[in-house]
Amino acid sequence: MMEIERYEIRIAGFGGQGVVTIGRILGVAFTVFSGINSVNTQSYGPESRGGACRSEVVLSHAEINYPYVRRADTLIALSAVALDTYLKDVKKGGLLIIDPDAVRVGKNAADQRVVPIPAAAIAHDSGGVKYQNIVVLGALQCLIAEYIEKTALKKAIKATVPPETFDTNVEAFEKGRAHAKAFLNSKPEFRALMDA
Amino acid sequence: MYRFNLNPAYCKGCGICIAACPKKVIESTGRLDAKGHILPGGGDMSRCTGCRLCELVCPDFAVAIVEDEAAEEKNDVNPD
C-alpha cells in the first residue's frame, strides 16, 4: 500500500442515503483492518435526519492532528446541494464521485476527475435503494485501490452492518466496484491520470 | 404506677403532651425555665395508664413514661 501523508475524503448527500455509515465503514477499514490512522467525523442533530448530511474521513500513516477536511482529495456528492456546497473545497485533480441521476456536473467540475456512479439505480436492481451507499463504497475502493484493499473494506462492512444484511451489502459493494472498473476501462486517459 | 420523666434540656414547653393525654394526667407546672419555656409535669400519676401517647406525640424526645417499681411497692404498703 502506498504511504499516505494525508488523504481527505468527504461524503455528502441527504440524510438517509447512508452517508454517515460509509464514513464509519471507511474509518474502520483503514484503521482497524489496514493499520492506517483515520479520523471520521459526521454531521449530527436534525440535519443528519433528512437534511443535508456530511461525513468525512481523514487518512494518514502519521498522527492526524487537525481532524477535518481542509482540501478534499475525494468528494462523493450524492445530491445537487452537496455538490454546490462542497465542490469548492475539492483539490484540483481531485476525485469527484457523483450519482448522475441526482447530480449534474459541467464546467464547474472541470478541474476534477469525475466518476459517475448511478448508485441508487444499481442498488435498486440488487438489494434495494438503501444499499446505494455501499455501491458507492465499492466504487470508491476501486478508484483508490492503492490505499485500501477490498478485503479490509469487506471486513469493515461485516463489523458494521447487521449480520443478516452482510451478503446483500457485499453484493452491492461488488456491483459498485464492477461499475467503477468498467468506467475506468472505458476511459484509458482517466486510468493514466489515476496511475500518475 | 408510672412516673412522668421530663428532660428539661430537650423540652420546649409546647404543651402537646398535656393536650394529648387521654386521662388528663399531665399538667403544666406553670413555671418558666431558664430558656423561657413553661414545662409540663406529671400530676396525679395514679391515673396514668401507661399508654405512652405523650411519648409518641412529643416533638422533642423530652418525655418518658417510666414504670416505677419503687412507687408501686410503696403503693402496695400504703394504698390510699
Binding site: 464509519r24 482497524v32 481532524p67 | -
Partner: protein, 389 residues
C-alpha cells in the same frame, strides 16, 4: 479487580470508536456502575452507550427528568457505594452547578462530563470551549474543582478513567470538559491489557481501621475516609458548614474556616499531582502557543508549520488539566518569552489565568478566538505570523 464483569468490559486491542463511546467505556472500566442523564446534543451519545452497555456489567442507567436530577442521582449513588457519572452539554451543565457545589461541600466522588457547545442561551449545537470558566467558578461558594481537557478519542477513554481515579482519591467531583469535536469524532482507540490500567477506589473507614464509634465523617486527615451507606457507620452527609464529626450546631468562624479551607487545600496543595501539562518544541523557543482540548490538535499543526516552514521559534504547551490551574508548572516551563498565543474556542477565557501566571515572563498574551468551530491551522498560524514573524 475486574473479575466479576471483566468479560463484558471493552477488550484489549485496537478499536474504532466515537469519543462519546470511548468515554463511556473508560467509565465502565474505571468501575462506574450508575449513570444518570438527560438527553442533550451533542452529549447524548454517551448516555446511549451506557444504556446499551451498563446492564451487562450489573450497572444501571436512568434517564432522569432533568439535569439537576441527573446530577443528584450521582450523590445518592456515590454515598451508597457506587462510582457514578453523568454527561451533559453546556445548558445542562449550568443546571448541574447546584449539585456540583453540593458535591464539593459533601466531598462526594462523582464525575460530570460536559460536552461543550456554544452559548450563551441555546447558542448552537456545534463545538465550544465556553464553559471552562464555569467549570471553575460556576458553582456558588468557595472550594476547588478538578477539570480535565481531552483532545482525542484515546483521551476521552483515559481521562474519564483518570477523572474517576481523581474523584475517588480526593473525594471530590471531577469534570471532564470535553467538546463536541472530541465527543463525536471517531478514531483509533488502543485498549491496553486491562490489568495494566490503574483503578483507584475511595478509602473507607474500614480500610483505615476506624470503628463506627470513632468515625469522624469529615475528619481523620485532609481527605476523610468515606463511610458507605448500609455498612453501619450511621454517616450523615451534610452541606451546611460542619465540624469534623459532622455536627452542624455550634457554628463559629474557626470551624467554618477549618471546614472550607481543607476542602480547597486538599486540591490546591496538590496541583503538581493532579494537573498535567504537555510541552513540546521548548528548546530555544521565544514564543509559545498555550492550548487545551481539541484546539491542541490544530495548534500543534500551526506550531509545526511556523517552525518548519517559517522558521518562527514557537513552543507548544497543552493544558491537559484546566483546574486546578498548573501555574507553578507553567512558570517552570516559560522562563522568558516574547509572545504567548492562546487559541481557544471562546473569546479568551483561559487566557486570563495564563496571563496571571506569566505576565512577568512575557511581553504579550494574545487570544486567538474561534466560536462554534475548531480553528483551522491557518487561523492560528496567521496570528503567529502577524505577531512574531
Amino acid at each position: 479487580m475486574h473479575s466479576e464483569t471483566s468479560q463484558n468490559l471493552i477488550a484489549p486491542g485496537i478499536h474504532y470508536l466515537q469519543g462519546a463511546e470511548a468515554c463511556a467505556e473508560g467509565a465502565m472500566l474505571a468501575g462506574c456502575r450508575v449513570y444518570a442523564g438527560y438527553p442533550i446534543t451533542p452529549a447524548t451519545e454517551i448516555m446511549e452507550h451506557f444504556a446499551r452497555r451498563l446492564p451487562s456489567m450489573g450497572g444501571r442507567t436512568i434517564q432522569m427528568e432533568d439535569e439537576i436530577a441527573s446530577a443528584g442521582v450521582l450523590l445518592g449513588a456515590s454515598w451508597a457505594g457506587a462510582k457514578a457519572m453523568t454527561a451533559t452539554s453546556s445548558p445542562g451543565f449550568s443546571l448541574m452547578q447546584e449539585v456540583i457545589s453540593f458535591g464539593i461541600m459533601t466531598e462526594t466522588p462523582m464525575v460530570v462530563v460536559d460536552v461543550q457547545r456554544p452559548g450563551p442561551g441555546q447558542g448552537y449545537i456545534s463545538t465550544s470551549q465556553e464553559d471552562v470558566m464555569q467549570a471553575r467558578w460556576g458553582h456558588h461558594g468557595e472550594g476547588a474543582i478538578i477539570a480535565l481537557s481531552p483532545a482525542s478519542v484515546q483521551d476521552m477513554f483515559a481521562m474519564t478513567i483518570r477523572a474517576f481515579n481523581l474523584s475517588e482519591r480526593w473525594r471530590t467531583p471531577v469534570l471532564v470538559m470535553a467538546e463536541e469535536t472530541v465527543a463525536h469524532m471517531r478514531e483509533r482507540l488502543v485498549i491496553p491489557d486491562l490489568d495494566s490500567i490503574e483503578i483507584i477506589d475511595r478509602k473507607t473507614p474500614q480500610d483505615e481501621g476506624i470503628a463506627p464509634q470513632d468515625y469522624l465523617p469529615y475528619g481523620h486527615g485532609p481527605v476523610p475516609p468515606m463511610a458507605i451507606w448500609g455498612q453501619g457507620y450511621d454517616v450523615n452527609h451534610v452541606s451546611l458548614v460542619h465540624h469534623r464529626d459532622g455536627r452542624i450546631t455550634g457554628y463559629n468562624a474557626e470551624t467554618h474556616f477549618d471546614n472550607i479551607d481543607r476542602i480547597r487545600r486538599k486540591i490546591e496543595d496538590n496541583v503538581a499531582d493532579i494537573s498535567e501539562v504537555e510541552a513540546r518544541f521548548m528548546e530555544d523557543s521565544r514564543h509559545f502557543v498555550i492550548c487545551y482540548g481539541a484546539v491542541s490538535r490544530t495548534a500543534v499543526e500551526a506550531v509545526l508549520e511556523a517552525r518548519q516552514v517559517h522558521g518562527i521559534p514557537v513552543g507548544y504547551i497543552r493544558l491537559k488539566t484546566l483546574w486546578p490551574f498548573p501555574e507553578a508548572r507553567l512558570r517552570e516551563l516559560v522562563r522568558d518569552a516574547e509572545k504567548i498565543f492562546v487559541p481557544e474556542m471562546n473569546l479568551g477565557m483561559m487566557k486570563h489565568p495564563i496571563t496571571e501566571a506569566l505576565r512577568d515572563r512575557c511581553r504579550m498574551v494574545a487570544a486567538v478566538p474561534s466560536l462554534g468551530c475548531l480553528h483551522t491551522p491557518e487561523q492560528i498560524l496567521a496570528r503567529i505570523q502577524e505577531e512574531a514573524a
